[in-house]
Symmetry: C2
Subunit: 197 residues, 2 copies
């Protein structure tokens, strides 16, 4: 816990780079500059780039799982949890510099391993499952208006958040994200409505 071991420092640099530039947009040479050891030394820790990516996705999935669990712990209403979810994706943008790792890797060319593709699908599955539960709760606590089928709500919410990230990053403009997600927030803010969708 006390010393920042090299592997962790490498993963930190790699996560940043991958979320900024995508899978094919960063090299061991880039990491070498940031971390201060030679590319050959990086290969000692992660023999192939795919090993790096795999470790990255595993760590990232766990980190997001924790954040989603914390939202459940800290917030009672489904509406607040969705607001927390949107804020998670907003924060991940870092002012338009970085995407969610999952989105960033999704775009990479077919350089990706089957294993990595599976991890990406797993990650989306984890998020979709969480969203689905929140929308199921929403059907009960009424803190989100016009709730439809939770599964469809979850799929739509994730697509909205990811799409909003993509356009915000491509113009490095956070307003794009805020604008695209404003309607979703309005379904929560202004209190429950009698009308079902």
């Amino acid at each position: 816990m006390v010393k920042a071991d090299t592997k962790t420092v490498l993963l930190d640099a790699a996560e940043w780079a991958a979320r900024r530039h995508g899978h094919d947009g960063f090299s061991y040479a880039d990491l070498s500059k940031h971390v201060g050891i030679r590319t050959a030394s990086i290969h000692y820790h992660f023999p192939a780039k795919t090993d790096l990516i795999t470790a990255l996705m595993t760590r990232y999935k766990g980190a997001i799982a924790k954040k989603l669990a914390k939202l459940d712990q800290d917030l009672d209403s489904s509406g607040d949890r969705i607001l927390g979810f949107l804020d998670l994706y907003r924060t991940a943008l870092n002012g338009g510099d970085t995407l969610c790792l999952c989105v960033a890797l999704s775009m990479g060319r077919d350089t990706l391993t089957e294993e990595t593709l599976r991890q990406i699908a797993d990650f989306r599955g984890q998020t979709l499952a969480w969203l689905q539960e929140v929308f199921a709760l929403a059907a009960q606590d009424g803190s989100i208006r016009n709730v439809c089928d939770p599964s469809k709500e979850a799929a739509a919410a994730l697509a909205l958040a990811e799409g909003a990230q993509v356009s915000a990053r491509s113009e490095q403009n956070m307003q794009r994200f805020d604008h695209a997600t404003e309607m979703m927030r309005q379904r929560i803010r202004s209190g429950p409505s009698a009308a079902a969708l």
Copy 2:
């Protein structure tokens, strides 16, 4: 019109490749194989890769503008136009193989020129303007339920369509797209509702 000139054949191949693999995911060597002329010959038509990308985006923007105009021409209700819009993005997926060129390039690394970035923003601006008009019409013809501010509706609809494309492509599964966009379609299909958002 009769002979397929080399430039057009190159653009066709490049568009397919770019939408499939992103900016850094295809090379002149790839085009060379598909088109049947050497890489040096491609440089004759497009001296630098950025020239190719610029020409690609220009042509693409015009093509989509035509398709959107055709939707306006063929369809009277705002609801049908949005359904047409979603189908446009669905078709662009080609079964999970290709993205909208704009989305595919958005993910590329910072290899992109300032000019290209401007073109990408322009393209989104064109689509957003069209969507905004459709939602403004919706506020009048009532063929879409719970219509909010047209500008926010447009931003949300574009993010939804792009995000749905990304997840569908990353798993090569069209159902992801259909699932994520189902709610939007339901706002149209089942007739107008008395409830405002």
